[in-house]
């Protein structure tokens, strides 16, 4: 009894630390400390579990702990800052698989043991839930990882009758799980167990299939919430309070975070998950639908760009996904520094959903040592936009598309944008006529005061910098 009290007190403390840590993670100045506090909670929970009276053999546990620590540390240290999203996806998948295995282990333990648990049906239900949700989390996360790491094409995979296939899969899984819960025959139970485990794993894959690569951050946040729910279900399986609390905390906060992320893109969660958004993009981008944009693209050479920039006093740089693709953050930083030395005031305008994950631009620019003070949020820069001499759009598209605020028929209508078109001159860097994530034409490129600097963002900027440098020497 005494030991149980000790362990459970430790669990209570761990839960408190998780709550505090999560709260602190949500505010910039305390975020890092919050993460440490939550890590402290985890340490306490792990140590407390190790002294559990039911835990007798430590060999395997130690092996697992050491292996996990080494692998986790190596990967987390080695991964490049720009590959963070896929790393999180992968880690999340591992968590889901771990929950699945915990559920499975408990199933086999009960099967081999003499004593049946008190509430057999309840235990069977939560085991089934743990395995299903864990499985979906695992394969879904792995798929998201593959898309983000470009091991698989990022485009949504759609085929005829996809919803039908998914429907059948769901029905089959539910049927197997129900059979598992109600049966008293050990053999039937084992079969059912195998079936829904397999189907759950397949489901995770097929459900993420029709979602485009750009929406993966939302999907990962969603799967993160699910991995919390899986842990929570595992908590009900082994009647463990800290699992229930921490799992449920992650589950609930993950859902809220997912919704917040969808809102920033002005889309609903259902739209992200089921619409196959972006699949028809190339087709739409090419032709000229009703309400199309008019005007012409006015290309600009690096020398001309140099002339414009040389005279500018107020410059705003608007980075987008293209900067990440071109890995141009260091050149961008160099450009900003040179312009600054040249007497211009340079700001970076960061749109909340620029790039492919929240904070994507912040992370890249931080990597390139851009001072924090030069970063301005969308709401901060828009009022100043009309006094800007030059806006340099580095591979951004949707986040500077005026259609979002003007064209009610546009699918991104309502998404707040950075009003680059209000600047005196706009220089857009992109490789060609490629559309943005939403697949829409962008009138900004056709405006009289816009000039296109074609080519990979990195090489284009290097050319401009070379010009600027030749001057200052």
């Amino acid at each position: 009894m005494n030991r149980a009290v000790l362990i459970n007190s430790a669990y209570i403390i761990a839960s408190i630390l998780f709550v505090i840590g999560l709260k602190m993670l949500g505010r910039q100045p305390t975020a890092r400390r919050g993460n440490l506090i939550s890590a402290g909670g985890m340490l306490i929970a792990v140590v407390a579990t190790l002294v559990d009276r039911h835990v007798v053999s430590y060999t395997w546990i130690t092996a697992g702990l050491v292996a996990g620590t080494v692998i986790g540390m190596t990967c987390a240290r080695a991964v490049k800052m720009t590959a963070m999203p896929e790393m999180v996806a992968l880690l999340n998948g591992f968590g889901g698989l771990a929950s699945l295995l915990v559920g499975a282990a408990e199933f086999f333990r009960i099967r081999s043991g003499e004593v049946l648990p008190e509430d057999q049906a309840f235990t069977a239900t939560v085991i089934a839930l743990t395995i299903l949700i864990g499985g979906i989390t695992f394969t879904g996360s792995v798929y998201a990882f593959c898309k983000l790491a470009e091991w698989l094409p990022g485009k949504p995979v759609l085929f005829r009758g996809q919803h039908l296939v998914n429907g059948f899969l769901v029905a089959g899984t539910v049927a197997a799980a129900l059979g598992f819960v109600v049966t008293h025959d050990a053999r039937v139970a084992l079969t059912a167990f195998g079936v829904f485990t397999g189907l759950g794993l397949v489901l995770g894959w097929t459900l993420v299939m029709p979602i485009g690569g750009g929406d993966m951050p939302v999907v990962i946040s969603m799967l993160n919430s699910l991995s919390g729910v899986a842990a929570c279900a595992a908590g009900f399986v082994i009647r463990n309070n800290v699992l229930v609390v921490a799992g449920c905390l992650v589950g609930a906060s993950g859902i809220i975070l997912t919704v917040i992320m969808c809102k920033a893109m002005n889309r609903s969660l259902a739209n992200v998950l089921f619409s196959g958004f972006g699949a028809v993009a190339p087709a739409r981008a090419g032709d000229t639908p009703a309400g199309s944009v008019e005007g012409e693209l006015k290309p600009l050479s690096a020398e001309d760009a140099f002339a414009v920039l040389e005279a500018a006093r107020q410059v705003v740089i608007i980075p987008g996904y293209g900067m990440a693709v071109a890995q141009a953050q260091h050149v961008v930083q160099e450009l900003a520094e040179i312009l600054g030395q040249n007497g211009a005031e340079v700001r970076f305008a960061i749109h909340p959903v620029a790039g492919r994950m929240p904070g994507h631009m912040n992370v890249l620019l931080a990597e390139a040592n851009v001072p924090y003070e030069q970063l301005v949020e969308m709401d901060g820069i828009n009022p100043m936009m009309s006094i800007m001499d030059v806006a340099i759009v580095v591979g951004a598209n949707d986040v500077v598309n005026p259609a979002a605020s003007r064209d009610k028929l546009s699918p991104i209508y309502g998404m707040p944008i950075i009003n680059a078109h209000e600047a005196r001159t706009v220089i857009c860097l992109k490789r060609g006529k490629g559309a943005g994530f939403s697949g829409l034409e962008n009138q900004l490129f056709l405006l009289p005061n816009t000039r296109m600097l074609y080519g990979d963002a990195k090489s284009s900027l290097q050319a401009v910098i070379a010009e600027l440098k030749s001057l200052s020497l």
């Binding site: 053999s57 999180v88 771990a98 229930v244 992370v363 003070e373």
Partner: protein, 105 residues
Amino acid sequence: MELILLFFIFTLAGFLGFELIAKVPSQLHTPLMSGSNAISGITIVGAIIAAGADDGSWVTTVLGTAAVTLAMINVVGGYIVTDRMLGMFKKKGAPDSAPKKEPAS
């Protein structure tokens, strides 16, 4: 009774989770996701119990050990990745309220 109290805990934790995450600035979304992902590695507790169970068979030990390894990767990796991301933000000048150390070039 124990089960009912677990449900109670479940309900309260759910509400708490909802309340805690509100008005998070967008650049913190990814670290927050990653940080809470690390917390979901709490399943390590279940994995340890499964791996070391006194009444387990070799099946449970194998499954448990695999679970311990995977969960530990999630936990360790998750916390380190989050810390690295947040470190990025901190390095240059201090955030909003804190005094700014670096000259704006």
